[in-house]
């Protein structure tokens, strides 16, 4: 195998509908106006860990390089601190775009394996759909069971501390109106746990 991999991109590799699909999600309409100034990456506390900076994600998304965008770790590292949204000189709601991309990655099933966040999102989603509330330590336990057994061992110490300080809930919290909640969420729950209507608004 040659160590020299071709980096060129052809027009046929672009998904020309991708940008419009993202922009159709409420909050993401201004994607087209980006002047690539890089303020978002500059304020983002996570950008230094991302394989593509937020600015570059907007650039790639706008150009339709869908796979690069959806398989990046950027969208999962976004902690929704909204600093980019607030500082963007074009008033682009980048956080909302990150959400739209998360939704799309889960829906298309192309999220990066090895990053626990999509699994966390999905388990959170399921727990709330079923119970109406989240019981944090159970959510964390389920997450570790499904992603990283070893991490659970490391977190064991923390678990004990939480029990000691009374911050560990042994029972699953739930609401009375679970049936009402089911009716409320019905259309979207039809699309399964990885559903997203977002892109098709």
């Amino acid at each position: 195998m040659s160590p020299f991999k071709q980096q060129i991109r052809y027009e046929s590799q672009r998904d020309l509908r991708f940008a419009d699909e993202i922009m159709a999600t409420p909050g993401c309409e201004d994607l087209g106006g980006c002047i690539q100034c890089g303020t978002c990456s500059g304020v983002c506390p996570l950008s230094i860990y991302m394989d593509h900076t937020p600015r570059n994600i907007i650039n790639l998304a706008r150009a339709g390089f869908k796979d690069d965008v959806l398989t990046s770790n950027t969208i999962w590292l976004c902690a929704s601190c909204y600093h980019c949204t607030v500082e963007c000189p074009k008033s682009i709601k980048i956080t909302d775009i990150m959400y739209a991309l998360k939704q799309r990655a889960i829906k298309d099933g192309v999220y990066r394996r090895g990053i626990p966040i999509p699994v966390l999102a999905r388990e959170f989603f399921n727990m709330v759909r079923r119970n109406g509330r989240v019981t944090e330590n159970w959510l964390a336990t389920i997450l570790y069971l499904k992603t990283d057994w070893l991490a659970m061992l490391k977190m064991g110490g923390l678990g004990l501390k939480l029990i000691r300080t009374g911050r560990f809930s042994f029972t699953m919290d739930h609401i009375e109106g679970r049936e009402q909640l089911r009716k409320l969420l019905e259309p979207s729950s039809n699309n399964n746990t990885s559903a997203s209507q977002g892109a098709k608004q």
Partner: protein, 675 residues
């Protein structure tokens, strides 16, 4: 007058028989592709009063116009209708053609079957019917037209220039050199504007004061220029060629004619040390209550600040200044504001700009971190006559090891101003060049796009690139004092994405310069109301046409020059100032202005004196004759907007070219369904 008048239907108007010539233009394929022009012309032939009806490929061409002229002579036509493009484009063309043939040009009526028909519809059959209907209305209307003459108004050759920056100075000198009387009114104590505060100008690195002060001196010594500084225009009345302007002369407490600018009073002032904010030096130094803005001020006369002068505030002072002035006796603490009334024919508004307040960008830390400066502050610091004698040092008087220049501060930003301020990239490059040349500091320029579009500008950018200035393409996210590494301790740190490299960088700096953008003066709305101008959504004064009339305003006789119309550099400002002077000179040279006759007039017998129309007029063209108790319309100021015509409860106001019977007849005939 009823529009059902039988006479008119038969094609007669009063005693005279109406003979109408109709011309339907193809406009190449612009009209002909969607309108069956031959059919339309044929249709017109049978309408009452029409003698001939033609279709032609390009009516606006010479042969097209000749056609009209010839037909008028040969067929003794006394009314013309042209159905073609928008009257905005060629109404004057056809009026002139009509006039050349000896017929009153207002017997020509033009209607658009391009913008109103062929360009906005896709159904050819329906479009042709519409064109017929439009034409029918026009033909009925033109029969009712009356002969009209343009009015002539004399133009006063004196000119008022408002604002004494480089734009105002250049306009004033151009006009004065052409032998015209110029009043130059400037709000500040000296002329010179922002340019007087710059150190060097890009791209030539000319010293701003060195190229400006000769012009300032010329203004002072020019016999044709009356220079009023520390003064403001407070009222403008009148119309093109005949403006009456009231100017308020604020008290300097100095008799300008007696002060020789020796500045002994400043030395002698009871305040031994300067204590008050020096506005000229952007607040970086202090001045005394009596001061001169800068050494080369024009006029070279001191000014006393009533807010800080002890004599003026408390009445109790040793007045060592008066003593130092001695025999010249230039001080006058009793001086009051004075009003001057002048009459001019044209006005040039050149009131300049203000820079963006950097407090609006909190993450850059202006006002919180002492070493964050605006570009204007740095201009003063590096200027030899500035507070540090031209040495770029921190507030602790240390030489910076690293200086950062942030572009686009308050520009291209929806949180402050959306526009690009045009000059900041270049002045940032200039500052970078100068700091590199005069200090040992590392210089960084943080930009989004490098805008270097003028003559010699790209070459200057290249020069700065080669001098080793660090260019980082990225909009700085924040300027912080949070240090992460030993090299950052005690310094300011800029966090920015180097977008070309694709990673985030933290860059320490000892001084941070914000390239603040340009925006309209805070009182732009008040000024524009005073001169009957408009502002664009950005707040700059609005030109009549962005491409073809950049120095005219919709108000005749009022012109714009310089940054008050939009951000621009010095070459463009001077060019625009020359253009405004030329426009003024054109009016003055012609000596008179011709007013279109589509003005409103009051039928005196029918006017009830109710005064409804007076407050309605957007051009303040209507006054009340207190003796006759009737409304009077000044045709020179009337723009023919028709508001008063519609508002008059007794219908006693009519409008030439838009009389009720003319308009209603056109409507009636347009509504007749054709096939």
């Amino acid at each position: 007058m009823s529009h059902h008048d039988h006479e008119q239907k038969n094609g007669t108007h009063g005693a005279e028989e109406v003979r109408i010539g109709v011309y339907v233009c193809h406009c190449g394929s612009n009209i002909a592709s969607m309108v069956d022009v031959e059919a339309v012309a044929k249709f017109a032939k049978d309408l009452p009063g029409v003698v001939l009806s033609r279709d032609y490929k390009y009516m606006c061409s010479d042969p097209g116009q000749e056609l009209i002229a010839q037909d008028i002579k040969e067929h003794k036509l006394n009314r013309i209708v042209v159905a073609a493009c928008s009257p905005l484009l060629h109404e004057h063309t056809f009026r002139n053609a009509t006039k050349r043939a000896g017929l009153n040009p207002y017997f020509m009526h033009m209607v658009s079957i391009r913008e109103h028909a062929s360009w906005v519809h896709t159904d050819r059959a329906a479009c042709t019917i519409k064109a017929k209907e439009i034409l029918h209305g026009a033909i009925a209307r033109v029969a009712l037209h009356k002969a009209l003459e343009k009015a002539k108004v004399d133009v006063n050759p004196a000119v008022l220039v408002v604002g004494g920056g480089i734009a105002g100075i250049h306009s004033a000198l151009t006009l004065a050199n052409a032998g015209k009387k110029v009043y130059l009114v400037e709000r500040d104590a000296t002329i010179g504007g922002h340019m007087a505060r710059f150190d060097k100008t890009f791209p030539t690195m000319d010293c701003a004061a060195c190229i400006l002060t000769p012009k300032m001196s010329a203004v002072r010594s020019h016999p044709n220029i009356t220079l009023w500084t520390w003064s403001e225009v407070v009222k403008v009345d009148g119309y093109v060629g005949n403006f009456k302007v009231k100017v308020k002369r604020n008290p300097r407490y100095i008799n300008e004619d007696l002060c020789v600018g020796c500045m002994e009073c400043i030395k002698a002032c009871v305040f031994k040390e300067p204590k008050f904010t020096d506005e000229f030096n952007q607040g970086l130094s202090k001045r005394k209550p009596v001061y001169i803005p800068f050494p080369q001020a024009v006029p070279p006369v001191v000014v006393v600040d009533p807010a800080t002068c002890l004599k003026l505030k408390t009445g109790k002072c040793k007045q060592t200044c008066v003593e130092a002035c001695g025999e010249r006796k230039a001080f006058d603490f009793e001086q009051k504001e004075k009003f001057e009334e002048i009459q001019v024919g044209t006005v040039i508004v050149s009131t300049g700009f203000k820079t963006v307040d950097p407090h609006k960008l909190p993450l850059y830390g202006y006002g919180i971190h002492p070493e964050v400066y605006t570009a204007l502050e740095i201009e003063r610091l590096i200027n030899a006559s500035g507070p540090t004698g031209g040495h770029l040092v921190t507030k602790k008087h240390e030489e910076p090891k690293s200086v950062a220049i942030i572009h686009c501060v308050g520009s291209r930003d929806e949180h402050t101003n959306k526009w690009c301020s045009r000059v900041c990239c270049m002045y940032s490059l200039k500052l970078a060049h100068m700091i590199k040349a005069h200090t040992k500091a590392q210089v960084y320029n943080f930009y989004i796009d490098m805008r270097a579009a003028g003559k010699g500008y790209e070459e200057f950018y290249n020069r700065v690139l080669e001098e080793g200035v660090n260019f980082v393409r990225g909009r700085v996210a924040e300027v912080t004092d949070w240090a992460m590494t030993p090299e950052e301790e005690g310094r300011l740190v800029l966090r920015v994405e180097d977008t070309l490299a694709g990673f985030v960088r933290r860059i320490p700096a000892d001084m941070v310069i914000l390239a603040t953008g340009l925006e309209p003066q805070p009182d732009a709305q008040d000024v524009r109301r005073m001169f009957n101008m408009s502002c664009s959504t950005e707040g700059f004064f609005l030109e009549r046409h962005p491409k073809l009339a950049p120095v005219n305003t919709p108000t005749d006789g009022i012109f714009l020059a310089g940054a008050c119309q939009g951000p621009k550099d010095i070459p463009d400002t001077v060019a625009q100032a020359g253009a405004a002077a030329a426009e003024a000179l054109a009016l003055i040279d012609k000596g008179h202005v011709e007013i279109e006759p589509n003005t409103a007039f009051v039928v005196e017998e029918e006017c009830s004196g109710c005064k409804t129309c007076i407050s309605m007029c957007p051009y303040t063209a209507i006054t009340r004759d207190e003796v006759k108790k009737k409304a009077v319309i000044n045709p020179a100021m009337c723009k023919g907007c028709g508001t008063c015509v519609a508002a008059c409860p007794s219908g006693s106001i009519r409008q030439n070219l838009f009389e009720d019977v003319q308009v209603l007849t056109e409507i009636e005939e347009v509504l007749v369904r054709e096939s």
